[in-house]
Symmetry: C2
Subunit: 326 residues, 2 copies
């Protein structure tokens, strides 16, 4: 099943989207918003799945064209956004580029940061920043949406309800100062963008196993391929482990979003899912980075295709723009 939230008010208007991302059906009588659906998933999901089946069989009432540009994030605002850093290969590169050792414990104890979840942006919304000098970067990731997860839960895969793609926008030049203060990211992580649709794990069929998505993520910068790392390779911590980490000392509420962190493969030929990683590889190879961070007007596209070449989640397709307000 595929779900999206059309722009409407603060929480969007829930629609079911067909497998081919061509049509959608509003479902106000079942659930007005995706959060409402997640709050009562056990009862609501089967009813949404019925609509989805009818759509794919070409017999849905009330279907209309699906336009990703009309989409907010599947959850335009959420109660929890916790982003892991499950591709330890990436963390190792970060350290290596600055000549530091990575602690061995990073292979067994996940890195995770608490993200801001009150104002997500849609897949085609601009990346707004007041200053290019902040070092604007994308990070291509996969994320899951959970149901209610008990504190201390270890059997967590069953709590995964939906998957999405993420652009975890980062302001690289604000990060060193913030991390030096010791309290983690804040200003360096502006609004996060998500794919137009969220999908149930069964939509990935054989590509979803071991709590990982075994497919490449296609990242394009200004129309040129930037990276195609496989989300299933080199993922040290699978989603169930990330969820268990997040729930160790607290309950997670339905609609919690848990991210994988930047997808990163050991094989440099696959490219990267963020500019920072490419710059690290350049630093390690040549002593200095040469790829610049994003400039106003640059475009970033993040997508995942199934083995037949069909887009699973629709594309995150954003332009970087100067923010003039305040």
């Amino acid at each position: 099943m595929k779900l999206a939230s059309l722009r409407h008010g603060r929480d969007g208007r829930l629609v079911v989207v067909d497998r081919n991302l061509e049509i959608c059906v509003p479902v106000p009588d079942i659930a007005a918003t995706l959060q409402v659906a997640l709050d009562d998933w056990h009862h609501v999901a089967p009813r949404l799945a019925d609509i989805y089946r009818q759509m794919n069989e070409g017999r849905a009432d009330n279907a209309r064209p699906f336009d990703p540009k009309a989409c907010a994030a599947p959850l335009p605002r959420a109660y929890q956004w916790a982003d892991g850093s499950a591709y330890v290969t990436h963390v190792e590169l970060v350290r290596k580029a600055r000549g530091a050792e990575m602690p061995q414990s990073f292979w067994t104890d996940p890195l995770m940061y608490q993200g801001g979840s009150d104002a997500f942006i849609g897949a085609t919304d601009p990346i707004l920043a007041a200053d290019e000098a902040w070092g604007i970067d994308f990070e291509g990731e996969v994320a899951v949406i959970t149901g209610d997860v008990p504190m201390g839960a270890t059997d967590t895969e069953r709590h995964i309800k939906l998957l999405m793609l993420v652009n975890d926008v980062s302001l690289r030049n604000l990060i060193p100062g913030e991390l030096a203060k010791g309290f983690g990211f804040f200003q360096s992580k502006p609004a996060t963008a998500f794919s137009p649709v969220a999908v149930t794990p069964d939509e990935l069929s054989g590509a979803w196993h071991d709590g990982k998505v075994h497919l490449p993520l296609t990242v394009t910068l200004n129309g040129e391929t930037f990276g195609t790392p496989d989300a299933g390779d080199d993922m040290t911590f699978a989603f169930p482990q990330l969820i268990a980490h997040a729930a160790k000392t607290r309950f997670l509420s339905a609609g919690s979003i848990i991210g994988s962190g930047t997808i990163s493969n050991r094989d440099a030929a696959r490219g990267s899912a963020c500019i920072a990683e490419k710059r690290m590889r350049e630093t390690i190879a040549d002593g200095a980075p040469k790829t610049p961070f994003l400039r106003f007007g640059d475009s970033v596209r993040i997508e995942m295709l199934d083995p037949q070449g069909h887009s699973i989640f629709g594309a995150i397709d954003q332009i970087v723009a100067r923010y003039e307000g305040g």
Copy 2:
């Protein structure tokens, strides 16, 4: 105006509470939940204020006794919880106790961490932890709830809609390991508790100025006074500055909660609003801490009285209990 959320479903049931915290009136025809009210505050607040005025004049329909034990957190789940560390005195003590210098920039650039907001607990809910060895501690704070704040806003005091007290429960012995990883707090910050009621700034009358609450916070541990630091003293960053910091690179949505951090005064005679600070003072004085962290069965009470001795927000009154689930 004073507002509370009685336990009901995921978001509670909004009630208006009278000034003396004796009676309350459900307002389902105005706003079912506090978040619904905040989403349309401009229209909803005057209607709630009418009810409040009627209650204080003894002419409210439908009034019933107000029981703080029936309260969830004013926002049982929220979209944003950002906690500052505005009492730099406290941060200085942390550093001094471990023999480290505090960077001078800490006096001008606020520390702030992104907190988890999906599962808050009510004022009289137990503090649940699986293990005493985690170093369970309370942190008495004040927090504000904002309306929508534009990215880059600097004139931010007008976005403050409500104030609350906070118990920012912390697991002290998990903090060093987490901060060493560089991504800030996560497991070391379990569910946060809030006062039974949230109040509009005018309820503080003369005690609310310069974006600070100029009243002492009374913190009691197992029935004995632990500290009475004044929230208006030694607060290096006022709430408007904390909001501006949080909104520097992103929009904040209505219902965002911004915390002050542990209230802390330079004058040690006022005591502390957390055990960790008392232990630091002990370490600086005697070379080692002697006050233990919380044990199962311990009780913590956090309250703020007006100059006439009346409780403004009701009391946070919690017992520490062993969590057996998972």
